[in-house]
């Protein structure tokens, strides 16, 4: 399972991180969002660039903790189902979604479904 995640180094970040860390990841991964996990890889949610923009308009800075803006009610997929097909459906239904975390029963991140943007 570990090797799957190591293929996506900039698609997830630590819940102890800041807006600066999130912007670094989002810039590197070119998918407009980053998954937030804790030290045991438990998924806390997703931060998209729009969340960062809105937080900054309200006075957040590069050093604001990411937990302030993380969307804790984001869509995730369990690793037991046909995740590729489910992810396609989610990407089809939600134009704004580019990443979907795949989680084990204990909500640890095991894989990431990524919208294929190369054709766009």
């Amino acid at each position: 399972m570990k090797n799957k995640l190591s293929a996506y180094p900039n698609f997830f970040m630590s819940s102890d991180g800041t807006i600066a860390d999130a912007l670094t990841c989002i810039t590197e991964n070119k998918h407009g969002a980053v998954i937030v996990v804790d030290d045991r890889n438990i998924v806390y949610g997703i931060v998209a660039d729009g969340d960062v923009r809105r937080a900054m308009l309200k006075g957040a800075t590069m050093l604001t903790p990411i937990m302030k803006l993380v969307n804790t009610n984001s869509v995730v997929l369990p690793d037991t189902i046909n995740k590729e097909a489910e992810a396609e459906k989610i990407f089809g239904d939600h134009v704004g979604f580019n990443l979907v975390p795949v989680v084990a029963a204990d909500n640890t991140l095991v894989d990431i479904m990524i919208r294929n943007t190369s054709k766009a």
Partner: protein, 388 residues
């Protein structure tokens, strides 16, 4: 005539540290605003300023209330050490703030550390101190803090007969003790409640006819190492029901990091999590929910007004006067699960048809403000005699 106009209004300093007391203050401030002889200024501190707890100061500002001072006192870390040290920072700044804002009266509420600090500072400055929600029982350091505040306060606003009696037993003179009911009910019974349809849309709760379980569980200071484990038991119990679940995130007490971790580890994807909810949305949740689970005081104080069953877990709220809506449970998942099942049963719901809230009728704020306005600031008020 000119002399009369020049008379200074009694300026009441209100110490706001967390969402808890803010529930009482809001209706009181509205009453103060209506009163010709009274004025107020809010001192905002502690949790209201913390990003991770939703920066509820924004809510205070949005309502247009007057903030006289802002004190960032809470150190990161959320341990016993930082909790105690954070209080010293508040104490360091408060005397000059009260002096600068020309406060004539200090109003504190509840049982949190910064409220005690404000009572200590007020009493030392020979300013009368009024204490809302005095005499209640809470099961940990908060409970000790509440009764310590009583010793520094000059006017005690108890929310029920039980609490008033306890304050009297602490040796307080009867003229200082007023049973006024719980002012946080004023707002709720006054009608500021987000309607169900709007609330479900706002919070992303599906309208699928399943029961709605609201979880609000805070760490208990004495047991903070176990806070994560306790949250896990609650969530595992909640998972046994085919229901919509909303989790309202905990406060800044020691142990809250563990609780946050446990929530994210044991949640299911469909559970909605909110770090801070506007008062009217929380009221809306209580009006729409089928059961409130956890150890939030709102299960004891406010839920009875909505005839909402509350599963009260553990020691935090033990010993407080409880309405018929409360079902007590220990920290074990099976016990919690049984309590939720009972709460969701038709028989229990039926038994709450005539549920009366022992904490009052929603007219407390006016009583409190009237008492403050008509009590002369004199030696009699300021020099305390001990009755034991």
């Amino acid at each position: 005539m000119a002399k009369k106009q020049a008379k200074k209004k009694l300026k009441i300093a209100i110490v706001a540290g967390s969402r808890g007391e803010w529930g009482y203050y809001q209706p009181i401030i509205r009453e103060i605003e209506k009163h010709p002889d009274l004025d107020y200024g809010i001192i905002v501190s502690n949790m209201h300023l913390l990003d991770r707890f939703g920066s509820s100061i924004d809510e205070i500002r949005r309502e247009g209330f007057k903030i006289d001072a802002v004190v960032h006192n809470t150190l990161d870390g959320y341990s016993r050490l930082t909790m105690a040290k954070s209080l010293s920072i508040f104490m360091l700044q408060l005397p000059e703030i009260l002096h600068g804002m020309q406060a004539d009266f200090v109003l504190v509420g509840g049982d949190r550390g910064e409220q005690l600090i404000a009572a200590i500072v007020g009493a030392h400055l020979y300013l009368p101190v009024g204490h809302i929600q005095s005499g209640e029982v809470s099961g940990n350091i908060d409970g000790v803090t509440r009764h310590a505040i009583t010793k520094f306060a000059h006017l005690h606003f108890a929310a029920n007969e039980d609490a008033a009696r306890r304050v009297k037993k602490m040796g307080e003179e009867p003229f200082r003790i007023h049973n006024v009911g719980a002012p946080q009910l004023d707002d709720l019974l006054g009608g500021k409640v987000t309607p169900k349809k709007e609330l479900f849309k706002k919070l992303g709760i599906p309208d699928n006819g399943k029961p709605l379980i609201v979880v609000a569980q805070h760490p208990v200071t004495e047991e903070f190492e176990r806070a994560g484990e306790q949250m896990k038991e609650t969530l595992e119990a909640v998972k046994q029901f085919d229901a919509n679940v909303v989790i309202v995130l905990n406060n800044s007490d020691a142990g809250s990091n563990l609780v946050t971790k446990a929530i994210h580890e044991h949640r299911t994807p469909s559970m909605r999590i909110f770090p801070n909810l506007a008062r009217e949305d929380y009221a809306g949740l209580m009006a729409s929910a089928d059961v409130l689970v956890g150890n939030s005081s709102s299960g004891i104080l406010e839920a009875p007004s909505f005839k909402l069953p509350a599963v009260n877990i553990g020691n935090r709220e033990r010993g407080r006067l409880q309405g018929k809506n409360v079902i007590n449970a220990g920290y074990v998942r099976k016990e919690i699960q049984n309590a939720i099942a009972k709460a969701l049963s038709k028989e229990f719901k039926r038994s709450l048809k005539n549920c009366v809230n022992p904490y009052g009728d929603g007219k407390s704020a006016k009583r409190i403000v009237d008492i403050i306005a008509k009590t002369p600031v004199s030696e009699t008020l300021l020099v305390k005699k001990i009755m034991y």
